[in-house]
């Protein structure tokens, strides 16, 4: 194939890819079409990858294929095997790989020193920094959620140190762009500094805030890919990277809002693990209930709203709970699931976990849809959720979670809380809901209590 012909084929293929990516993302934003969306996007990736093999004057094909097979095989196997509860850290890991790839492209361009234009060099440097930060930062996020790093490293003056590293990174970048000192050692220093920055930026952030950070790094990787696309003159990379950059930024904002946190707050303070215990004093007492009585209450209800939390997923109880709900539905009870935006470890994570158990998505309602319905519900069944149903968020200005949108489970006629023990929630705040007159505590882990409730309903 001639060079002109090959170029036309490649450009045409990239155009098709851009179309398939955008249509794929569009379809992924509705549950009805979501499944076909990823297939569309996948087809786009195949088209672009195959077309790229026709790129003129390329070498190192054996090396290329080996890298693809190794990287692809490892990712495919790990992606097929990972548990649904571990999905957030897996996304972080794949995202970090993308950032690392963008940084690698920048590194090759900069070591070669072939950037003819100032803007080309600047984009290569900025994309390289962002990619490297996203790479090392995502690896830290993965390690934290996976439990490989248990505590958050914090010391006084930490932000000053981070700022100094960031400044040094920028200086190295400017030196390279301005061609003042573009030797290999400066390029090396640039990438080492950017990698260190990603680590030190992410280490102090608490586990609860990690989803927002992962989403942010996802957007950053998109941006890095777009910048390297400019450097290579590759339209597919520019379009796909920019679309992900802007979509990812919006998604990050939506997540931060759902968690009642601003992005600045997430990045520069340490709420995630060190929140002060609430100041409010809770009055009343915890009133336990037996599974048998709770089962009867559920069986004779007209409307039940289930509020699942991450505790349910950890206990792998979603299958049992769905079995219970199916029994109730067969008895004519109206059952729905109410999902708080941050139930699970990431907005939407709980929906995935429920879907895994076979719960149809039209029985699942989010906060805005369901909150008005609690008043008409006979029973709100809380399983492993805590802070997201704490009415203190509406009433107590002194509470760290004040202002966070919550599910109004306290408005239901009866509340049953399945809980392992009497400890406070993730944020360490007492839950006023548990002390209400219409609340009953069912102590035990979600799995065995689910079985007990099933037995109780069957015996009615």
């Amino acid at each position: 194939m001639s060079h002109v012909g090959a170029a036309a084929v490649i450009q045409g293929s990239y155009l098709v890819t851009a179309f398939l990516f955008i249509m794929g993302l569009k379809r992924m934003s509705s549950p009805v079409t979501a499944r076909s969306g990823i297939v569309w996007a996948g087809a786009g990736m195949v088209v672009a990858t195959l077309a790229t093999f026709f790129f003129p004057e390329m070498h190192n094909y054996p090396l290329m294929l080996a890298a693809m097979v190794i990287g692809g095989a490892i990712a495919w196997i790990s992606g097929r095997r990972v548990a649904m509860t571990a999905m957030p850290q897996m996304i972080a890991l794949y995202n970090g790989m993308g950032g690392g790839a963008a940084a690698s492209i920048a590194a090759i361009e900069l070591y070669r020193g072939g950037e003819a234009t100032l803007s080309g060099a600047a984009l290569a440097v900025v994309g390289g920094i962002i990619g490297a930060v996203s790479f090392s930062g995502s690896l830290i996020a993965f390690s934290k959620l996976q439990g490989l790093i248990q505590r958050s490293l914090r010391f006084t003056g930490q932000q000053v140190v981070n700022l100094l590293i960031a400044a040094a990174t920028l200086v190295a970048g400017v030196l390279i762009v301005a061609q003042v000192d573009a030797t290999a050692s400066v390029v090396t220093a640039l990438f080492v500094l950017a990698l260190v920055l990603g680590i030190t930026m992410t280490l102090p952030i608490g586990g609860a805030d990690m989803p927002v950070v992962i989403s942010l790094y996802n957007a950053l990787t998109g941006l890095a890919v777009a910048f390297e696309g400019f450097v290579l003159g590759n339209a597919a990379m520019i379009i796909a990277g920019t679309v992900v950059g802007s979509a990812g930024t919006l998604l990050t904002q939506l997540m931060a809002k759902a968690m009642n946190r601003s992005l600045g707050n997430v990045l520069f303070s340490g709420f995630g693990e060190t929140a002060a215990a609430g100041t409010a004093t809770v009055t009343g007492s915890l009133k336990p209930i037996e599974a048998q009585d709770a089962g009867v209450m559920l069986a004779f209800a007209q409307s039940v709203i289930v509020v699942p939390g991450y505790g349910m997923a950890v206990a792998q109880a979603q299958h049992k709970i769905w079995e219970l709900c199916q029994l109730l539905i067969d008895r004519g009870v109206r059952v729905r699931f109410a999902i708080h935006p941050v139930a699970g470890r990431m907005p939407g994570h709980m929906n995935v976990l429920l879907a895994e158990a076979g719960v149809p998505y039209d029985l699942i309602a989010d906060l805005d849809e369901i909150n008005a319905e609690f008043e008409n519900a006979d029973v709100a069944l809380i399983i492993g959720a805590n802070d997201v149903v704490n009415p203190v968020a509406r009433t107590d200005r002194g509470s760290p979670i004040y202002g966070m949108p919550i599910l109004n489970a306290d408005k239901a006629r009866n509340v049953i809380v399945i809980k392992r023990g009497q400890g406070a929630g993730f944020s360490g705040i007492e839950n006023a809901l548990f002390y209400l007159d219409n609340t009953r505590m069912l102590y035990g882990d979600a799995q065995s209590m689910g079985s007990a409730l099933i037995a109780a309903v069957k015996s009615v």
């Binding site: 992924m28 990858t49 195959l50 070498h59 690698s104 070669r112 998109g222 520019i238 920019t242």
Partner: protein, 120 residues
């Protein structure tokens, strides 16, 4: 591609990304983030071009790592997104058939594994 055209592409793509995601329900946030994570796996084509042009051992080594990471991003992103999305079913679909609800497009689930198929 001239600079100004590239800037136009950048601007329009940014708006597109924002609009496409704009009204997405919370229930799809995790799969969507995973899906957009897959889309930036397009960095694979850039890594391929960079490795294809590499001449020194250092460049080749970095290019190799770049392609490996990019392939991991694309393939892994596809694998987990597809797994999550295939679990989403409506009551009707769940009642009508257990598992008979095939995806619309004729792409096999392994479609994201293109890199290893491109050996020609």
């Amino acid at each position: 591609m001239t600079g100004i055209i590239a800037l136009y592409i950048f601007m329009l793509a940014a708006f597109t990304g924002y609009e496409v995601i704009g009204r997405v329900p919370v229930i799809l946030h995790t799969p969507l983030m995973s899906g957009s994570n897959f889309v930036h796996g397009i960095v694979l084509v850039g890594a391929m071009v960079a490795l294809g042009a590499a001449s020194t051992p250092l460049e080749k080594a970095i290019g190799f790592v770049g392609v490996l990471l990019a392939a991991g991003n694309a393939v892994g992103g596809y694998a987990v997104t597809e797994r999550m999305l295939q679990m989403f079913k409506s009551s009707k679909a769940a009642a009508a058939s257990k598992g008979g609800d095939a995806p619309k497009a004729g792409e096999p689930p392994k479609g994201g594994d293109a890199p290893s198929k491109g050996s020609h």
